[in-house]
Amino acid sequence: MPRARPRAATPILLRDIDEPGLATLEVYERRGGYQAMRKALAMDQAAVVAELDASGLRGRGGAGFPAGRKAAFLPQGDMDRYLVCNADESEPGTFKDRELMAKNPHMLIEGIVIAAHAAGASRAFIYIRGEYEQQARVLDAALAEAAAAGYIGERILGGSFSCSVVLHRGAGAYICGEETGLLDSLEGKRGNPRLKPPFPAVQGLYQGPTLINNVETLSTMPHIIAMGGAEYAKLGVSGSTGTKVVSVSGHVQRPGNYEIELGTPSREIIFDLAGGPPEGRQVKLWFPGGSSSPVLTAADLDVPYDFDSLAKAGTMLGSGAIIVVDDSTPVLDVALKLAKFYRHESCGKCTPCREGTNWTVRMLERIDAGEATPMDLDIMASVQEHIIGNCLCVLGDAMAMPIGSMIAKFRDEFEAHMHSRQLAGAL
């Protein structure tokens, strides 16, 4: 069932995605693959970092930190440095990395070598979530091909730079997408996040300086090197340069991955590309950046889809996953689904998150059971406020922000739900 895939005016990451056999080295090279790596390895380390800096590329994993600056943070000198590719894509609603890895694994490997060169790292690890077994197999085959061709491993292309790449499979834990939780998990421990600082750039994997980047960020790097950082920065808008693969899911007619230039109006992504909600339905609320982002309503559909505009609208671009909820679904169901997810995934290390997620689930269940009072909504809102900023990582915040925004924006509906359940109970 081939699906029509509307594209950005200038697709970069998804340019060749439907090319048959793209996952093989032969086809990838025929499409110009590994040329950027040759170019990068001929440049010195500082020049590669400068290109990344000039591109204005911001991390595609969720935090949106400038990728060039992050690479420059690593202390230089005679020590082991590491590059870790975060392929533990677990944010509900996000499936861009899955498609990039399964269909174009060599683009990621090329990006890894370029980033490793920029950071001076001699060992790279791809931490892929355990559930992605098919994708791990594709990557394994691609890594074997790249190693045989001399593109990874000792003395790449016969030059002085060496970088080994190891594929590491996780085992099912959302928290391992958090960078320090991921590092602990990669060291063979429970995936508990660490106290920051020290940040991973200074003290990360095996206590060494570590650069951690998302799959999409690394996959973009070959294109930046190929076209030049300044040229890449012309795409998108100021502060949010380049293109982004957006995963659109939920109540839309054509869920899927769409590459857009940052700054595209959100309405265009949800309606023109993904087809909008089913016939006769209206957009009730939508998550612009995965389930952890504060929700927006139909009134916000014209917000440009970029980091700064979404921040101004009180939410975030996050992992670039739009989840659309139409008017057929009660907001309480959405809140309860999310709260249960975060309760299950909380690692339990910090009290506000461990207890806050648990209490939020119980209070939402009370509302649904008709046992709550209007005061409970205020208490629930204050629970969210007490989680934010009080934990080692942002997992608790990731529940508190969307739930807090739902209570603020749909308070009437929560109260109506509460009353109707109370009446039903009294009968």
């Binding site: 996952a23 498609e99 590491h168 060291e187 989840i323």
Partner: protein
């Protein structure tokens, strides 16, 4: 009022009355002379350990390998991994209990993970789970689980059967999925994610 689950003596904490035996010494690193480890499993764990600067990094791949051999992270499986990796069984248990994909009790050989997170549930995943549960009945061969977002919201509602993704499923596909599994066929092959263009290079051959 909502009933809070109570365990023995009214405690809300599961397992509080099964506390560790404080008179017993903790299990140390198993003696290699006393633990029999299948040669293939040993080779797989040792190969994993060689990939990392610190051998302990191989804990996850090693436990996954042992689970493939034993079907779940049984005490024997943990002991064998501990013996090869030179770690204590307690350490490995602490790791195994953290991750969703490690089974802590015996389960059926066919894993059926139904994503019931937000995007899939908006498209009917909860009803799909119920339909599969009803179709599977109490078949001990099928390990049916609710699972958190599996990263395939484009084919929602979806399931991962033995780590292969299928979707989108209609309610009627639930019975077909179970029938195919029970007959030993590849389940609902027409709904495999790999049928979508280029998901798998071999699919285009």
């Amino acid at each position: 009022m909502t009933r809070v689950t109570r365990f023995a003596h009214g405690s809300r904490v599961p397992g509080w009355d099964q506390a560790a035996d404080l008179d017993k010494d903790p299990a140390g690193v198993p003696d290699p002379a006393l633990v029999e480890v299948p040669a293939k499993l040993r080779a797989e764990i040792e190969a994993a350990m060689a990939l990392y600067p610190d051998r302990r990094s191989a804990a996850l791949p090693a436990l996954a390998a042992a689970q493939r051999v034993h079907g779940w992270c049984s005490p024997e499986a943990i002991e064998q991994v501990a013996c090869v990796m030179r770690l204590t069984p307690a350490y490995l248990s602490s790791v195994a209990t953290f991750y969703d994909m490690f089974e802590l009790e015996p389960v059926g050989p066919h894993s059926v993970y139904v994503c019931t997170n937000i995007s899939c549930s908006l498209r009917g995943a909860d009803a799909l789970y119920d339909a599969i549960e009803q179709a599977a009945g109490d078949d001990p061969q099928i390990n049916l689980r609710h699972f958190e977002c599996l990263g395939a919201c484009d084919i929602a509602p979806m399931v991962s059967v033995d780590q292969v993704y299928y979707g989108p499923l209609e309610l009627a596909d639930a019975q077909r999925l179970v029938d195919d599994l029970q007959a030993g066929r590849e389940p609902i092959p027409d709904l495999a994610l790999s049928r979508l263009r280029c998901a798998d290079p071999k699919a285009n051959a």
